[in-house]
Symmetry: C2
Subunit: 218 residues, 2 copies
């Protein structure tokens, strides 16, 4: 029953963005179960935990070959591992953080303490940071050297935490220097060349959705 769909076969299918968005959530719950020593789980129990229907979960995982065994359920370790592989978390990624205000600092702390596959190689700011010349092994540099650094160090991902009006110019700089992924925290939708992946954390959109849900509740 444990059939793996090859990377090539997978690439030929179009997995919907909604499915991809749910995978990290599955993995997060499986990680919690692992910590509690749980070895296997049925799609029904997983469904109660995560809050998606059991059929939704089976359908999502079937996109990648299933992973379940009839009458046994899912092996927690195996599924955690395989979802990690699907997401590409079996590799490490070199990052730069561009913009070292409070948010950049928060993300630097978060990544170094929680995301061991993502290594911060450099941190960039318009201002010369005087109080910290490095952050846990990552150099802190001014933006003038950003393009060279990205190209020379073979950086995979730029985390953009600059003010909105600077976002596109930073994106242009890093994409020209060969970046493959952008994690964008600004309120701007970036204009990017093909082949560059982008994930946005638009906090303003999130807050406004919350305002909607609050009215809807009354």
């Amino acid at each position: 029953m444990r059939e793996m769909v090859g990377i090539k076969e997978r690439a030929e299918r179009q997995i919907s963005k909604a499915v991809i968005k749910r995978l990290p959530r599955y993995r997060r719950y499986l990680g919690d179960l692992q910590k509690k020593g749980v070895e296997k789980i049925s799609s029904k129990d997983l469904s109660e935990l995560i809050g998606y229907t059991a059929s939704q979960i089976r359908q999502d995982l079937n996109n990648f070959g299933g992973f379940g065994q009839q009458g046994y359920g899912y092996s927690v370790d195996y599924l955690y591992e395989e979802i990690g592989n699907i997401l590409g978390l079996n590799k490490t990624y070199k990052m730069v953080i561009v913009g070292y205000g409070r948010l950049g600092q928060a993300m630097a702390n978060y990544i170094t303490s929680h995301e061991h596959n993502f290594k911060i190689a450099g941190i960039f700011d318009v201002k010369q940071i005087i109080q910290d010349v490095e952050f846990k092994g990552a150099e802190i540099l001014t933006c003038g050297s950003l393009a060279n650094f990205v190209a020379k160090e073979g950086i995979d991902i730029a985390v953009i935490t600059v003010p909105a009006e600077k976002a596109q110019i930073v994106a242009d700089t890093v994409t020209r220097a060969g970046i493959r992924g952008i994690w964008n925290f600004t309120a701007v939708d970036l204009d990017l060349p093909e082949g560059v992946a982008c994930e946005d954390v638009h906090v303003s959109d999130s807050l406004h959705a919350l305002a909607y849900y609050m009215q809807d509740m009354k």
Copy 2:
């Protein structure tokens, strides 16, 4: 053509979460157009700008009564205003920030400079903050006084930026004290009573989705 669907009528229909998630984005683009002095826009031009299909846009807005005039397009000011009303951005909300590390500080800065409908009334941390006793008019207090403050001040929204293992206890405290909305930045899905709206910013899920897209591009 400009029919408004009443709040009551709207509440009886079920607007999908996906539509709600797109509304702040429409409003954001309309705000940019306003700043550029654009007065009207067709759904086709809006579509090219935002990246959704024109029919998607029309369909989304029809959930709320349409707002467009045949052969004229959308009035930018009017649509910006109406989407704001739908989202509940014609009101003000009183907030507390719970957790005043880097992320809490970043969110306090962001809200006070960009989100004028959301007023930070208090900021809470486990530690006594000595260097700042207040932040732009908001008191900075220790968590022991959180429940009282929320109840007494009639706080609408709690922004939770504490470590993951403290998230649920903070949520329990503020919901018991009568909060109506939670903006959750922790990696935890909170267990909340009915009638409390919640919007999660799960940065870890977002980063892992980015890792997936990066593989998918190769």
